[in-house]
């Protein structure tokens, strides 16, 4: 098992995840019809499925170039850029790297915009039309996409934001840290 390639680890892990998904899972409270959607920011390490629930409203904003461009315009109009600049931060944290304090999924970014966060992020819920908050969320999500970063030509990033593919949010739960040298977490006695 020590000679296993990283790719096979990935495939095995993906299969394990798929297996879990197929298994009988108790419906999460937020999955129940008629309930307002609650999105978890806290992610639990060590569980092999994501506890993050999904919000059906997010669907329309994936692969949506219009939405991401509207978000870019709104990001200036609502003074988001005053704190977060063009993704590099300032008064608020940068948004173009791979660090997400309150979660990276569209639902989570939207939730952060709606509720605000305790260290200085204002609450925009009921102050900005909800559709615009989704457009802002998808622009923020786009800032750190490899395609958006690759499109930066000068010292002002996020000017050509790529639409956000749904794949970008597929693995929002706990996943193994990348580039570890040794990984024994998938070693199950009797399986290998």
């Amino acid at each position: 098992m020590y000679s296993r390639s990283p790719i096979s680890v990935v495939v095995l892990f993906a299969l394990l995840l798929a297996g879990c998904n197929r298994g009988a899972q108790p419906a999460l409270p937020a999955d129940q019809p008629g309930r307002s959607v609650v999105i978890d920011s806290a992610l639990d390490p060590g569980v092999e499925h994501s506890l993050v629930t999904t919000d059906p409203r997010a669907t329309a904003y994936y692969n949506n170039a219009d939405a991401v461009n509207s978000g870019k315009r709104l990001f200036q109009q609502y003074n988001c850029s005053g704190c977060h600049s063009n993704g590099g931060g300032g008064m608020g944290p940068d948004l173009m790297d791979d660090v997400w304090i309150y979660g990276s999924r569209l639902e989570q970014i939207h939730q952060t915009l709606v509720e605000g966060r305790p260290n200085g992020m204002p609450s925009w819920g009921n102050k900005v039309p909800d559709q615009q908050l989704w457009q802002l969320a998808v622009y923020v999500r786009s800032m750190s996409l490899p395609q958006t970063l690759a499109a930066q030509t000068d010292n002002t990033p996020s000017q050509t934001p790529a639409p956000v593919p749904p794949e970008a949010d597929q693995d929002a739960g706990w996943s193994p840290p990348q580039a570890t040298t040794n990984d024994y977490t998938t070693t199950t006695p009797g399986v290998d």
Binding site: V10, L17, Q77, G88, G89, G90, G92, D94, T156
Partner: protein, 623 residues
């Protein structure tokens, strides 16, 4: 699908971006020379007397350091002379103390009755250390627990510029808008007064000035559309005595019959309303986040006023009074006596909040009561402080945004080529938005007659953009990218002769200097650098005599004091941050040159030199 997603995340491996390319310096030919744009009402007359503060404003040094500016004259001169150019090479750390906060530390340590007091950046913890015992153990800690949301309203890192000890109380401000007096014996609050409303963008970062039973405090938030103010509080109770706004009707600004401004442009009714578009003064900035100086000799209070908002000047045609200037007020009532506007209708974020140094200086053949102010806009102003008359104004850094000061009208002569415009990038504006020098204070030695100015050598590209006012969010409207000034060295320590109106020597620094200076009777100037060197240079020559590498960049105010053992000590806080160091204390991504209001463009290499920290260092000679 899951496989695809995992592959995607694996290939997009995280990269810690340490730096981008620093832009090329602005050519020397693009800025004016001192000879071209420096002006004075009269030729130098050094024979008329010796430049020094009056004893009323700078009493004999008692070896303590009770206020950030050392004395009311704000000389930051220590009469202690044990440390000399001959022995400073043996200076060594005596003890250090972790501040436990890794944000920009801008405060001056305070030493009174053998106790040292330090206030940190947000969350503004105060430590009291007993200097009589080995290792200076803690006497008490005071944690004011400011509102966490205030962190999101601080334009340029969550800094604090220090506290003051007066009559048994340590008095300081918190980021969320409080002024607090703590009993130095018990470490408990005597009073706490809430002055700022963070929902309107008001925070407090300045060090209060305490004099004759009153505490003077101004707000921060010039980038948040605040309406700036200064208040006086009763030192014993914290109760409000008066509040003067920086904009609006005369009654709110405390302009009345006593107001006698020297220049015509400042004379007229309700200029704080008339020099703005309708209602714009209500969100026009003019915060007093820097230095407020009390003058016991003339019984005057000098209040530096910050930039107008928004940065996009086309949204606020007019002179935008009373921003980007200085008020002289009656300390008891706040009534304005005079005002001078360094940058009428400021278009470049040139706050007028830098230090005011009060000296008796020879000018035009006689000794005069002057106030020396080294402004963001690039000029050393020498102002006769009874009347507010500018005697001389000379550039000390790279300047092309203006062509000097017209000393007949008092007006800055704006260079139309560097005026900022909506939707158009104006390139190579000097000095940059943070100024030829920012808040970090200079010192003055009566021994050498020189000012020791820690400053920047930076310029910028600027494009104005329309901005909406939304309470509690930034009100800026500009895309800025900073760059090095001529020569490429981003910082400089300049020894300036205010009588001869010229530099005597200068030390070039790779990074802008964001620390204050202190000068001693041993003829040594101490200052720190953003990459974490604490340095001692010869006050007469600028020769580097000693340096010590601390744990993080230095942006604070060093001091010199006499310890319980009668020896001289030097104290300074490390802890990179502030506007220039925010790229390290962040979180900020150096790939965005526009980040931190355009500062990151010129500071993106700093993360290669230092990391966040926060430590008190105390040095002495071996003894």
């Amino acid at each position: 699908m899951r496989t695809v997603a995992l592959m995607l995340t694996l290939t997009a491996a995280p990269i810690v971006a340490l730096s981008q390319t620093i832009p090329a310096p602005v050519p020397e030919s693009e800025v004016f020379t001192r000879e071209e744009i420096g002006h004075a009402l009269a030729a130098p007359t050094p024979e008329a007397g010796h430049t020094a503060p009056s004893t009323a404003n700078a009493p004999e040094d008692d070896g303590q350091w009770s206020m950030p500016s050392k004395n009311y004259a704000s000389t930051r001169f220590s009469a202690l002379s044990e440390i000399t150019p001959a022995n400073v090479r043996t200076l060594k750390p005596d003890f250090s103390f972790s501040l436990a906060i890794n944000k920009g530390q801008e405060a001056a340590p305070i030493v009174v009755d053998n106790t040292m007091y330090v206030v940190t950046a947000y969350p503004n913890i105060v430590y009291a250390l007993d200097l009589t015992k080995p290792g200076a153990p803690l006497k008490w800690i005071f944690a004011p627990k400011p509102a966490p949301a205030s962190q999101g309203l601080a334009c340029c890192d969550v800094v604090n510029r220090g506290g003051t000890v007066s009559n048994g109380k340590y008095i300081f401000n918190t980021l969320d808008g409080q002024t607090i007096a703590v009993d130095v014996k018990t470490g408990r609050a005597v009073w706490r007064t809430l002055l700022g409303n963070i929902n309107r963008g008001e925070t407090i970062t300045m060090a209060p000035t305490v004099a004759k039973g009153r505490v003077y405090v101004g707000d921060s938030g010039g980038e948040m559309g605040v309406r700036g103010w200064i208040v006086a509080l009763d030192e014993n109770t914290g109760k409000l005595l008066w509040r003067g706004y920086s904009t609006g009707p005369d009654a709110d600004v405390l302009i009345g019959s006593e107001f006698k401004p020297h220049y015509v442009a400042d004379q007229g009714k309700d200029l704080g309303v008339q020099s703005w578009p309708p209602q714009a003064w209500k969100i026009g900035g003019g915060a007093s986040w820097g230095w407020v100086t009390y003058d016991p000799e003339l019984n005057m209070l000098y209040q530096g006023v910050g930039n107008p908002g928004p940065w996009n000047n086309e949204q606020r045609p007019g002179d935008n009074k009373w921003t980007a200037g200085i008020f002289a007020r009656d300390p008891a009532t706040g009534a304005a006596r005079w005002y001078y506007q360094y940058s009428p209708h400021d278009e470049h974020d040139y706050d007028g909040v830098n230090e005011q140094i009060l000296l008796d200086m020879p000018f035009a053949g006689k000794m005069q009561k002057v106030l020396i102010h080294i402004d963001r806009n690039g000029y050393v102003y020498v102002i006769e402080r009874n009347t507010g008359t500018v005697l001389s104004a000379d550039p000390f850094g790279p300047v092309n945004s203006s062509k000097g000061v017209d000393l007949q009208t008092g007006r800055l002569i704006v260079n139309p080529a560097k005026q900022t415009k909506l939707g158009e990038t104006v390139r190579n504006i000097c000095p940059t938005a943070s100024g030829a020098k920012d808040w970090n204070p200079s010192s003055f030695s009566p021994k050498t007659g020189l000012l020791y100015i820690p400053h920047e050598n930076m310029c910028m590209d600027w494009m104005s953009a329309e901005v909406n006012y939304i309470a509690g969010t930034p009100y800026v409207g500009a895309l800025v990218h900073m760059k090095p000034g001529p020569g490429g060295n981003r910082g400089e320590l300049t020894a300036w002769d205010p009588v001869q109106r010229r530099p005597v020597w200068a030390v070039k620094e790779n990074f802008p200097i964001w620390s204050g200076t202190v000068v001693t009777a041993g003829d040594i100037v101490f200052y720190g650098t953003l990459d974490g060197w604490f340095k001692a240079v010869n006050a007469r020559t600028g020769e580097l005599l000693w340096r010590y590498k601390v744990d993080s960049g230095i942006i604070s105010q060093p001091i010199s004091y006499r310890g319980p053992d009668s020896h001289q000590y030097i104290a300074v806080l490390s802890g990179v941050g502030g506007w220039s160091g925010a790229v390290v204390s962040g979180p900020i991504d150096p790939r965005d040159g526009s980040a931190a209001l355009g500062m990151v463009n010129v500071m993106s290499d700093l993360p290669k030199y230092t990391t966040a920290g926060g430590t008190l260092y105390v040095f002495s000679l071996p003894h």
